[in-house]
């Protein structure tokens, strides 16, 4: 497919406009706090929109659409039960503590709650994850570019069969563009460009849906026509959110409830720097909470925009060799000149907003937690700002370098989930127990974290290396179960090791553990008068 010049013009105007808008924020960046936390002045609506558009990226458009093509609306569990409960718990319980503590990152909070060893391990594993996910995003973007543009734009420059070279070209273009305004403007540029990008992304996705549902091959049209079409083709379970516990897909209901909703999702929305960082930049505690909840409201619409196109593609193109090409195929076949450019701009919006978020998150962890926190490098504010920008630039390069490692799993989305399932279970166990049980000790946390990571990594390797009958889990990419087992392992070790080691004085945990926050001021005072309850 070759884009019409009008589409190319729309995309070019959008990209240049966004770049200019993002670069405007560089004027307001004077300190490290301005760069990494937007000067702690973000309103709730910008936080919510930014969380959503950062969370859903090129990976979702390409891979979640692909997942719904393969497995049906069960893929929507990721954005429904895999989001709202966790977001409610995050916004009303955890985020207020992070915000009040004035930290820059989740590892920094972990360091205060446990100790510097926990902070070190957390910083390193989250940095590795963030860099790897950057590679996966660049690859997803390149795949979409390739699917849309193919070989024609490169006629005479790159041989037609040199797909790898074209993919790498797209990776480099994407990295260069997204890196530019992120390096210059920091979190404020990221958040406010995200607001623009959310609107473009939603608009583009709605156009694809609206036109897709009018397709004559869908019979009656609309959702009922789509359902009839799929059921008559034998895809009976594609309209069920619940798949049996022994399904071979990645969405057995047991895994969705116990692995995704209770472990992975809370870990993601409470322990993931990419999500939490915006709330730390809120102008007040209420805005931090409201912004997170507002993201939950917007997230409800994501499956409608991303999962339904996968079902549309299945009805219209049942023989696709690679399900990850479903969304690109829809754009290619359904949209007229002009709208293709707008939708493509929406896709780029989703991509860039995620990439810039991961860049700032990884840079803040490396700068705050590793260089100045663990290595105790002392720098003045100006040098810290320079360091943050330099780190962001270096991360762009590292992200590109990890692209070749992202192709070993069946789908990009599953690849990301595999990494998360190793990291998130232990992280969530430490956060949850650390927040609600003040007896949890630093040494207990450190030992438990290492044990949980070992369990998650071991299970992942076992699952990948073993023959079909000897695997610990029978479903494809059982990331939810791995997260659940590593969570339980970490929790068990944490409780046992904490009971065997000396607890920290309560005074050192003030403001870091959940205590008596259900009570108003009068009740709190009464509690303190009766038994010396500490302030939350």
């Amino acid at each position: 497919m070759s884009l019409h010049w009008i589409d190319i013009a729309i995309i070019a105007v959008y990209l240049l406009g966004l770049l200019g808008f993002g670069l405007c924020f560089s004027r307001f960046v004077k300190t490290e706090e301005d760069y990494f936390l937007a000067g702690r002045n973000l309103p709730f609506w910008a936080i919510g929109m930014s969380i959503v558009v950062s969370d859903i990226g090129a990976i979702d458009f390409v891979s979640l659409t692909g997942a719904s093509y393969r497995y049906g609306i069960a893929a929507a569990n990721m954005d429904w039960i895999g989001t709202l409960p966790a977001i409610i718990i995050a916004s009303l319980i955890f985020i207020p503590y992070y915000w009040r503590a004035g930290v820059y990152s989740v590892p920094e909070y972990m360091g205060r709650r446990y100790d510097q060893r926990v902070r070190a391990v957390q910083s390193i594993i989250w940095t590795i994850y963030l860099v790897l996910i950057l590679g996966a995003m660049f690859l997803a973007a390149a795949k979409m570019f390739e699917n849309l543009l193919g070989a024609r734009p490169w006629a005479g420059l790159i041989p037609e069969d040199a797909v790898e070279i074209r993919l790498w070209t797209y990776v480099l273009v994407t990295a260069a563009f997204t890196g530019a305004y992120t390096v210059a403007g920091g979190l404020a540029a990221v958040v406010y460009t995200d607001v623009v990008q959310l609107v473009i992304m939603f608009l583009g996705a709605l156009i694809v849906l609206a036109i897709g549902f009018q397709h004559p091959d869908l019979g009656a049209g609309g959702l009922s026509g789509l359902r009839e079409s799929l059921e008559s083709a034998g895809h009976d379970s594609h309209f069920s959110l619940f798949l049996p516990h022994d399904t071979k897909t990645p969405y057995p209901w047991t895994g969705v409830l116990f692995g995704l909703a209770l472990v992975q999702a809370p870990a993601y929305f409470i322990g993931n720097q990419q999500i939490v960082q915006r709330t730390l930049g809120a102008r007040d505690e209420w805005s931090a909470k409201a912004g997170t909840l507002f993201a939950g409201a917007l997230k409800f619409f994501i499956p409608i925009l991303v999962v339904l196109p996968g079902l549309l593609a299945l009805a219209l193109y049942p023989q696709l060799e690679d399900a990850d090409q479903a969304y690109g195929q829809l754009i290619k076949d359904l949209l007229p000149v002009g709208l293709t450019g707008l939708v493509f701009a929406g896709f780029l919006a989703a991509l860039m907003s995620s990439v810039d978020s991961f860049l700032t998150s990884a840079a803040s962890i490396i700068s705050r937690d590793i260089i100045t926190g663990l290595c105790r490098v002392r720098l003045d504010d100006r040098s810290l700002l320079r360091l943050g920008k330099l780190l962001t630039l270096v991360l762009v390069v590292f992200g590109v370098a990890t692209v070749p490692f992202c192709g070993i799993f069946a789908g990009i989305y599953e690849f990301i989930q595999a990494i998360l399932s190793i990291v998130q279970g232990p992280t969530w166990a430490l956060l949850l127990i650390g927040m609600f049980w003040r007896r949890a000790t630093a040494s207990g946390g450190f030992v438990a974290l290492l044990a949980g990571l070992a369990v998650g990594l071991g299970l992942t390797i076992w699952q990948k290396a073993a023959e079909a009958g000897a695997r610990p889990f029978q479903c494809e990419e059982p990331f939810m179960f791995i997260a659940l087992v590593s969570f339980l392992s970490t929790a068990g070790v944490l409780v046992a090791a904490s009971l065997a080691t000396r607890p920290r004085p309560v005074s050192e945990l003030r403001g870091l553990v959940f205590r008596a926050t259900f009570h108003d001021t009068e009740a709190q005072s009464a509690l303190e008068a009766r038994g010396g309850e500490e302030e939350p």
Binding site: L92, W253, T254, A290
Partner: protein, 61 residues
């Protein structure tokens, strides 16, 4: 009752449990940091509305 029906009940029950948890949070805690105490700033109602929508979707599909 087949497996899917049990799963549906568990999922909906999970949402309802969460709704109950939200409602026991005191208003003062929810409004901490808010510039005023207008009804729309009470985040418990935001949460309940979102949970109600999800209960409907999971019961329907």
């Amino acid at each position: 009752m087949n497996e899917v029906s049990i799963a549906r009940c568990l999922f909906v029950g999970f949402f309802l449990l969460l709704a109950a948890g939200v409602m026991i949070l005191p208003r003062a805690y929810i409004l901490r940091g808010a510039p005023d105490t207008a009804l729309w700033r009470d985040l418990r109602w935001w949460a309940l509305l979102l949970l109600a929508v999800h209960v409907y979707v999971y019961w329907r599909f």
